[in-house]
């Protein structure tokens, strides 16, 4: 109470400072004004305690100079940043709305198998920023292994690819996609190592994996095994990925025809799959345009029906009807294996 004059001065100066703080942009003020008042109060009382009136004047002068300078700076920032965002927002809109993706997916047990070891996933992020930076992801996997381990392997594959791909911080899409498949491989290898039963050979599992990312005007496809990515462009069907199967090599060397490959006794033998300690992931890049259709499938489809059937179905029907027709067609051919297809039509927004 004996210092009442000083106390009054404090509150007067502080009130003045509080009043000045209104000049800052609203967002800044709401966030920091009360902290700044506390700082002012501390500095003011410290100046009183340590020095004379001149010290206080000095301190008030410093604060006033700081105020004038930073009010201008914060207003400029407050003006620049939303404009920057608005600009980025527009670009993003253009990029994202450039294409709309019409996606359909379906998997079927087929006619001969007791369980479905295929798995599939389609991710078109709702978050525009994620869609803008990472694009849309489609993954198909065909599991192998006794005691229902094939299903586990293909489920692990699609989940790990999805998780890694969208969680990775790096911006480079093709290498992130390849690393995502490597991660999936690692998980399957580790799961295999965890099996320690005497006849664990039976419990070893593996899977094929094909993953496609649509981003801006580009399709990135990565694969291990014999599941495939095709693109239908202006009525022409092109196989984008290259199978890691013996029959595919024989076809490439001209020793057998694609038709012979479909019935070849070694048609199911693949030389690369997830579940091997070391696996190489191939990557393919393809431009896509409005009107193109991307198809992902397991060998239960493309190893059973002819490319011409695939082409004509996808060309005739929309994605939803296409996946039904494709699976029906594979089953008409006997449905020897699980059948899985994802059909993505790219159209202008």
């Amino acid at each position: 109470m004996d210092y009442s004059p000083r106390k009054q001065k404090t509150s007067l100066a502080e009130r003045l400072y509080r009043f000045l703080l209104r000049a800052y942009p609203r967002a800044f003020r709401e966030e920091y004004a009360s902290e700044m008042v506390l700082v002012f109060r501390d500095a003011y009382s410290a100046a009183w305690q340590q020095q004379n009136g001149a010290g206080v004047l000095h301190m008030v002068g410093d604060f006033f100079y700081d105020f004038v300078k930073t009010v201008c700076i914060e207003h400029m920032r407050a003006w620049i940043e939303p404009n920057k965002l608005a600009l980025a927002g527009k670009e993003q809109l253009v990029m994202t709305l450039q294409f709309t993706l019409d996606v359909a997916q379906r998997t079927d047990i087929g006619r001969k198998r007791n369980n479905n070891e295929d798995n599939l996933i389609s991710v078109v992020p709702n978050d525009d920023r994620l869609l803008e930076s990472k694009g849309a992801l489609f993954v198909v996997s065909d599991g192998m292994g006794g005691h229902e381990r094939g299903e586990v392997a293909s489920e692990l594959a699609i989940q790990k690819v999805k998780d890694y791909y969208y969680q990775a911080n790096q911006a480079d899409i093709p290498s992130t996609l390849q690393e995502a498949i490597q991660q999936a491989n690692l998980s399957i290898v580790q799961a295999n190592q965890a099996v320690s039963e005497p006849d664990s050979g039976k419990l070893q599992m593996g899977a094929t994996c094909v993953a496609a990312v649509l981003h801006a005007q580009t399709l990135y496809a990565a694969n291990v095994g014999d599941s495939r990515v095709y693109v239908l462009h202006e009525g022409q069907l092109r196989q984008i990925t290259r199978d890691h199967s013996w029959v595919a090599r024989l076809v490439e060397q001209g020793e057998i025809t694609p038709e012979q490959a479909r019935t070849h006794e070694k048609r199911n033998v693949i030389y690369r799959s997830l579940g091997q300690p070391e696996v190489e992931v191939d990557l393919f890049t393809e431009p896509v345009q409005e009107g193109d259709t991307v198809i992902l499938c397991t060998d239960g489809l493309c190893g059973v029906i002819e490319d011409e059937d695939l082409r004509s179905i996808v060309e005739q029907y929309g994605p939803e009807e296409s996946v039904h027709q494709l699976i029906a067609r594979a089953n008409e051919e006997g449905g020897p294996d699980n059948v899985t297809a994802i059909v993505v039509r790219v159209s202008a927004a």
Binding site: Y32, L38, V39, D62, F67, K69, T70
Partner: protein
């Protein structure tokens, strides 16, 4: 990379532990013998951007409640913040070495001069 002077001083003030706004200002003033006088506008403007850049974080736990006063906000370096501080200090150290080797500091009465 050169950091702004304010950012570098704030990183340096937080190098030995979390502090609230006034403590940061105080340390900067004391350590520079009153040469560097940072005001609250500069301080919180820099803090805002440093938070956004991930150089520092606001620490919740500390902050003793003083008789109904607003709880003070404490700030601490992130791992990234301390790496940036280290890199910047190293950069400045190299510059000082160059200055020394060219005998720039000689005769100015500044410690470090020959």
């Amino acid at each position: 990379m050169p950091l702004t002077q304010a950012v570098f001083h704030i990183l340096l003030a937080l190098a030995d532990g979390e502090k609230h706004g006034y403590a940061i200002m105080q340390e900067i003033g004391e350590r520079s013998d009153g040469v560097v006088r940072m005001g609250p506008g500069t301080l919180y403007g820099s803090i805002q951007r440093m938070l956004k850049d991930g150089l520092i974080v606001e620490v919740q736990e500390r902050g003793e409640q003083v008789r109904g006063e607003v709880r003070r906000r404490y700030y601490a370096l992130t791992g990234f913040g301390s790496r940036v501080l280290q890199a910047e200090a190293r950069r400045l150290e190299q510059l000082v070495h160059i200055a020394q080797s060219k005998q720039v500091l000689r005769g100015l009465g500044i410690p470090g001069g020959a």
